[in-house]
């Protein structure tokens, strides 16, 4: 097992280098750079920016350097000093821009994930065990709606309904007086009720999907020989259910951790934009639009690293959870 993990980690190094080059290259692909976007924005407001100013800004931001030099400087700073570079747009180190938002994003994502699991797993089990019962149909119906309606639309509808009925614009995670306040118990208490809506909206489609997966997997398991045998031998039904089929059916949860980790920090970008949540999703979108390359690059790099680590973790967990899985070519 340790061999396997070590081997996998070694494999990751060239992979990460390749990813970082691709990420940086793709961000630079569109015409222009951050400065041209920024200057155009100024010009649209009627502000004139001189050619000389543009030149000195380019020098100041290092944008006059060739692509490969910019990439190497960025990589060197990450590896040597742990410095992700500076966001042009925010005029702050990338770590500062992402820092506070990463935490909030994770709070929302972790809570959403727990919400999804708490709702979806029991319903999935119930639907499978009581297949074709009325409640199964009801859950299935709601599930399909949840799967079909995009989160941002749901968010828009909720915002609209709340605004029309109460005149309150439900936006952001904090009341105005807490937006810029330092963290305190009062601020957390202020956030909690405002967290419910985004969590439910973001969790909605996940819940629906997971119910279907749970139900399908469990149904597969329930019809298998070992279940029938156990049942014939008179094993108590709840005990039987939880001891084997559920354990098997939970597999997909574990094997998708590889994607869950990056999703945790990238958040639901569109829902966040609609609901004005101070998470990382909108920052990434805007960084890409503005070609704020160190911010966008670092963010994508973090997401890639997490995907890779997540995949590693799910492989390890799966191997541990399901003895039928074997590591190809490497001795245990």
């Amino acid at each position: 097992m340790l061999n396997y993990i070590g081997y996998r980690v070694l494999q990751l190094i060239p992979l990460m280098i390749a990813i970082s080059i691709i990420v940086f290259f793709i961000i630079q692909l569109p015409p222009g750079d951050f400065l041209s976007t920024y200057i155009q924005q100024l010009e649209l407001s009627g502000t004139k920016v001189d050619a000389g100013t543009i030149l000195s800004l380019q020098r100041q931001y290092g944008l006059d350097q060739p692509f490969i030099v910019q990439y190497l400087v960025w990589m060197k700073n990450i590896l040597v000093e742990g410095d992700l570079g500076r966001s042009f747009q925010w005029n702050q180190p990338v770590s500062e821009v992402l820092g506070g938002r990463l935490m909030l994003t994770m709070v929302i994502s972790v809570v959403s994930l727990i919400f999804v699991w708490i709702i979806a797993i029991p319903i999935g089990i119930y639907s499978a065990v009581r297949q074709y019962s009325i409640l199964d149909y009801v859950f299935t119906f709601i599930g399909f709606i949840g799967l079909a309606v995009p989160g941002f639309l749901l968010a828009l509808v909720v915002l609209y309904v709340v605004f029309v009925n109460t005149g309150v614009s439900l936006s952001g995670l904090f009341s105005p007086e807490y937006v810029d306040a330092p963290w305190s118990m009062a601020k957390v208490m202020d956030m909690l009720p405002r967290l419910v809506l985004p969590v439910v909206i973001i969790g909605m489609s996940g819940t629906a999907g997971l119910i279907r997966v749970m139900r399908g997997m469990l149904l597969d398991e329930l019809s298998k020989q070992y279940v029938i045998t156990a049942r014939a031998k008179g094993v108590e039904s709840t005990k039987l259910l939880f001891k084997y089929p559920v354990r098997m059916a939970i597999n997909p949860l574990i094997s998708t951790i590889g994607w869950t980790l990056p999703a945790l920090i990238s958040g639901e970008a569109i829902v966040s934009i609609v609901m004005n949540l101070p998470t990382t999703g909108p920052v990434l979108l805007r960084a890409l639009m503005f070609q704020d390359m160190y911010l966008a690059g670092s963010f994508l790099l973090i997401v890639s690293v997490l995907t890779v680590i997540g995949t590693l973790i799910s492989d390890i967990l799966l191997a541990w959870l399901d003895p039928r899985i074997r590591f190809g070519g490497v001795a245990d």
Binding site: S36, T37, V97, V110, L264, N276
Partner: protein, 673 residues
């Protein structure tokens, strides 16, 4: 048994939690910085007082009279120099220097808008003005409210030019030499005096320093010509300086006033602050720690200086905290979601009753994720002032929600909303032949139903353009196209000289909310002529790049034409390559045809003439040429712009004022109790 099964899940959660903790560890504090106001307030003011003061005062009165005699004096305000008592905001109660000593002797009496645009009321102090922006580090509403130019043009229409940061100016009869007088006792927001030393620093040590200014700004060359000679600078005394050009440049005055929202920062910099980062005054070796801290390479003092020198368009940038300014409000705090601007205790304007401006103590600018969120916050009554993100298309929505404590006013718009451009210098023989035929452009103009545009897009709040033929006549338009030999093919589409279907691909950047619906209408109207017209919406940055590279064939965009005369008449869009030839002095681009060259000459003439002459050139030459030749099509004029203001906000310009002029005169806004 059951417990055991839960272990993997519990472990999983634990891993997630650990990761959460690790990642949140890279958070760098996140909180905002709060220097600025407090510092400024407590910093001692060591400017000269006592004896010298009376002498200079007497001398100044004399100068003032001289200036009046030459009829080019700055301020026309009634009571300048006569006030003896001054009042200040209660917020400044703890500032030790009395308000009289913080104000310059030559204080400015607010005179931002002419009486026919605003009936000025004496205001009351206090309050926080809330604005919302969807762009990081940029709040156009706050930027325009704060920006101070060296000279002013009341009402922003360029009709006359008065003093602002500078007290007054004098232009020689040949329009080559300009003498400027500064306000005696004017102070930076940190209490340091503003003198011609600050001008000298900005000119000699920054503008004429090849390292700091590798490309000299064209507008500071004679006649604003990139190939012209830079101005010569002459320091006369502590409060007077002279700038001379080797060619007449009357338009220079408007360049120093609001034009291009230029502000004072090009010619006036806080020398006492910036000298600390300038090679000439500070040893580069001693700057190294600062250079390293700012993330630049060893010896890059130029980058450090540029980083520390905050130009006017960076005033909504967090870097500007602590930088000495002359604005009514200065940034004091910035977080990732909001910026706070607090009043500058040394601001140089007062109202006629001697109250130091601004009336409003603070501005709170909130950053939202999306421009639609600005609308939502607006209709929820969470915004006190919004111009930049307000759009006529949302007017019904604003009006419906006016009971939330705001008013949606209709003011004038400072740009023409949507002009239609065909790129006559596009590099395609077939296209150029058709588009350069004035009959073609006239036919397209004839096919536009202005009234339908006004009704369906602007709810009636616009007029057909008065200096271009606004007739709607499809038959005449068809006749012109037939005359050109653009016959209809078997598919019903007209063909170009190459015998193939002639296509007009309109590419738009959707920079304003009316551009898409307007273009859709244009497409439908032109299709009726048998032309193959398409619309494609592209990203704004891509639009800019394609325009620069002369790759746009046709587009829809606004132009700043109704407002100033600085020579931007869309020629960068309808004649991109010709404009480049013109502005590069023939080094780049393509030589324009004679009529366009003559048109460019008129533009140059307008931009270097003083406001009165410029207006004549614009009316008699520029507008006439566009009217005759249809270089681009200006379908509408006098479009209204919504201005969202808190219902309690006073000193807001009336409906004849430009919305942006009310914004520009933000220091005189106040909340009625």
């Amino acid at each position: 048994m059951r417990k055991k099964k839960m272990i993997p899940i519990a472990l999983l959660l634990a891993v997630l939690l650990i990761l959460t903790a690790v990642l949140s560890g890279c958070e760098g504090g996140g909180g905002g910085t709060d220097i600025g106001a407090a510092n400024n307030a407590s910093k001692g003011n060591n400017n000269a007082g006592g004896t010298g003061k009376t002498d200079t005062k007497a001398e100044d009165t004399k100068q003032g009279n001289d200036t009046n005699a030459t009829k080019t004096d700055g301020d026309a305000a009634p009571a300048e120099g006569t006030l003896t008592e001054f009042k200040q905001s209660p917020m400044l109660g703890s500032v030790s220097v009395p308000v009289k000593d913080r104000l310059p002797e030559d204080y400015k009496i607010t005179n931002e808008m002419p009486e026919d645009l605003l009936k000025y009321e004496i205001g009351t102090y206090g309050g926080t003005l809330r604005t919302v922006t969807s762009v990081v580090d940029w709040d156009a509403d706050v930027f325009i409210m704060n920006d101070e130019a060296l000279l002013n043009t009341p009402g922003l229409l360029g009709k006359e030019v008065t003093g602002n940061v500078l007290k007054s100016y004098e232009m020689s009869d040949d329009e080559k030499t300009f003498t400027f007088r500064m306000r005696k006792g004017l102070k930076w927001s940190d209490g340091q005096p503003v003198t011609t030393e600050d001008v000298r620093f900005a000119v000699e040590d920054v503008l004429f320093n090849k390292e700091l200014t590798p490309i000299f700004p064209a507008w500071l060359n004679a006649a604003g010509d990139p190939n012209g000679k830079p101005f010569t600078f002459e320091l006369i005394d502590e409060y007077t300086f002279k700038m001379s050009f080797d060619q007449p440049y009357g338009g220079f005055l408007l360049s120093l006033a609001v034009q291009g929202w230029r502000g004072y920062t090009d010619l006036l910099k806080p020398a006492h602050y910036l000298e600390k980062f300038h090679k000439k005054y500070t040893d580069v070796a001693s700057l190294e720690p600062e250079i390293k801290k700012a993330g630049f390479k060893k010896g890059e003092w130029v980058n450090l200086f540029n980083d520390k020198d905050i130009t006017n368009w960076e005033l909504t940038n967090p870097k500007s905290i602590g930088f000495p300014v002359l604005y009514p409000w200065m940034m004091t705090k910035k977080t990732n979601t909001a910026a706070t601007f607090e009043r500058n205790p040394y601001y140089f304007k007062v109202d006629p009753a001697g109250n130091q401006l601004p009336y409003i103590d603070k501005i709170q600018s909130t950053l939202v994720q999306d421009i639609e969120m600005v609308t939502l916050k607006t209709i929820a009554g969470e915004v006190d002032f919004s111009r930049e993100s307000a759009s006529l298309i949302k007017m019904p929505l604003y009006r419906e929600n006016e009971d939330k404590g705001f008013k949606a006013l209709l003011s004038n718009l400072h740009v023409s909303p949507t002009d239609i451009y065909l790129n006559m210098s596009y590099n395609d023989k077939n296209w150029a032949q058709v588009v350069n035929d004035v009959r073609f452009r006239k036919a397209l103009s004839l096919a536009l139903d202005r009234n339908e545009m006004i009704d369906s897009i602007y709810y009636g709040f616009a007029e057909p353009n008065s200096w271009q033929d606004s007739t709607y006549n499809i038959d005449d338009a068809n006749k012109l196209l037939d005359e050109m030999g653009m016959t209809k093919g078997s598919d019903g589409f007209r063909t170009g000289p190459d015998g193939k279907k002639f296509t007009i691909p309109i590419e738009i950047g959707a920079q304003a909310p009316d551009i898409v619906p307007m273009t859709e209408l244009v497409v439908e109207m032109w299709k009726q002529l048998g032309l193959d017209v398409t619309m494609k919406k592209i990203d704004g940055a891509l639009w800019g790049k394609r325009r620069e590279a002369n790759e746009l064939k046709a587009t829809v965009m606004w132009a700043a034409d109704p407002m100033w005369y600085y020579g931007d008449w869309g020629q960068g869009i309808w004649g991109t390559a010709w404009d480049l030839y013109n502005s590069s002095g023939g080094k780049k681009g393509i030589k324009p045809p004679d009529d366009v060259a003559a048109f460019f000459k008129s533009l140059a003439k307008a931009s270097v003439s003083n406001p009165q002459d410029a207006k004549a050139v614009v009316d008699n030459e520029i507008k006439k040429a566009i009217g005759d030749k249809y270089y681009f099509i200006v379908p509408l004029q006098n479009v209204k712009q919504p201005l969202i203001v808190n219902a309690k906000l006073h000193n807001v310009g009336n409906e004849n004022a430009l919305a942006v002029a009310t914004d520009y005169a933000g220091e005189q806004l106040f909340f009625a109790p």
